[in-house]
Symmetry: C5
Subunit: 133 residues, 5 copies
């Protein structure tokens, strides 16, 4: 399936297109990603709107290194960005899904919010209310 | 109060207002956040008093990068700052709530202190004292 | 093939050959490794193709420090790179193997994909379907 | 004893007094703290002696950023420094107390050594020797 | 006991001797330590040979900050370096000892290899083969 694009496939292309690259300063930690990743899903998420039409419309603050400033938790942004990269929610055992849920809500990632609410519900200990008889 | 600024919603505004951004050097680790976050809850917390009326009154030390120096644990400051961002206490399983409690006490975050004391009490193994028969 | 260089063994040689060294910026985190490591296994993995024939063919983007930009999770790239170093899959208990699997798929590391799928299958709770009797 | 300085309380003062601030490079990781913290407890601990009488007596090596070089584990120094800040030993579940004990011994923090030995003893699985009947 | 060496004791001396200090870039992460630590045990380990006779013999590559480049996992190098500092193997619960074993083998730390193989064997679930009656 790559026979017509002899030198690049899609991932290669992503890596190559330098103008695509974006640095984010999330709560003090630097993340590096691409416009393609940030605008991939949930077209009206905050990140998609922020980076979809260039930087002109959105007058975001940048830090001294040129990274876009986002006042959120870097810890819980990590699985958010990973989700935007490949479309899967992957959580390490030590990560509290409620922290990731707050980020998904902040950024308006609707499909991810639902998945996280499912994870949180499943983790809840079963209801100990005994029906009165 | 934002009815005159039709193009932005509150989160956008926070991200945009560059003068709002604050760097903190907590125990050697850099955190980036906004004055709005630091002064949001518990009006007479130390952070609120530190950043509410500009930097004039409070002659805080800054490091060579301009970050405000705070001699506390970065590990346990993380959930404190996250709490100030969205109002929820979120703890990863590996984090000792007693460490976060010490920070909440230091910064004078009354509502958070109560929540943390509840978490700690619930984690305690049940009292093994057997009632005398 | 190293019999003519009596003073070094292979590891020494790797450490010495400065032109070998490569910096990678994976999602914002810097990794340092060698061309030998990146091209060691799975000859047609993306990393092998990226670094096998010099940098000429592959017009990769680099950041301001000269590190090759890769828009993937640094968290799950760590065991990938470690695997390329010594050929073993080593996962800490807190790491979700599904995150590493996504990276193995992205980089086209066939033998690692199989190992990770085995790990994930073994971790699954046993099928709770009770045979009808 | 602070009645003559009406505008500050003790924590404020600590934050303000710029000459107080110290950077430590512990095993490659930077920590920022104050002389007050480092000399607070255990007056003849190594850190207290190192920073009590100014830098003149103690000809410590500093790195290129001016941080004092200490050849110890940053991982296990973290709870040590936290202990010096507020006087409580706080350990995350994932941290091995034996690592922290080695640091407490190195720095000569007598009261902390005892606490850590207690923690380690309590974590030991109970002696499986069955008394001979 | 320090009356004859009025200004230094052995730990002090280590900290003071600036020419001793070494920076290592292990897989992209910086570690700071001393020649004394790196050459302390296992005299014919790779690290001992690398730093025992000065830098002349061993033409190691250094990065732009002057740190010696080592193409290994920083995650599993941490307990290795800690072991060289105080002679004890200390592993956090989350760390996979098989990762540390690979580093001990790479660096040729014989006594540590044995300790790690013991740890790994003890962690193995007991052999479920039931002896035939």
């Amino acid at each position: 399936s790559e026979t017509k694009e002899p030198l690049v496939h899609s991932s290669h292309q992503e890596v190559c297109n330098q103008s695509e690259w974006v640095h984010l300063n999330v709560g003090g930690k630097l993340f590096t990603t691409t416009v393609t990743t940030l605008t991939r899903t949930d077209g009206d998420s905050m990140l998609a709107r922020m980076f979809m039409h260039g930087d002109v419309e959105w007058q975001s603050a940048v830090d001294e290194t040129g990274a876009y400033l986002i006042d959120r938790s870097p810890l819980y942004f990590e699985p958010i960005l990973n989700y935007l990269r490949h479309g899967l929610l992957v959580l390490d055992k030590s990560v509290n899904p409620e922290g990731v849920l707050e980020e998904a809500k902040f950024f308006g990632l609707t499909s991810l919010i639902e998945q996280l609410e499912d994870v949180i519900e499943r983790e809840q200990p079963p209801d100990d209310s005994t029906p009165i008889n």
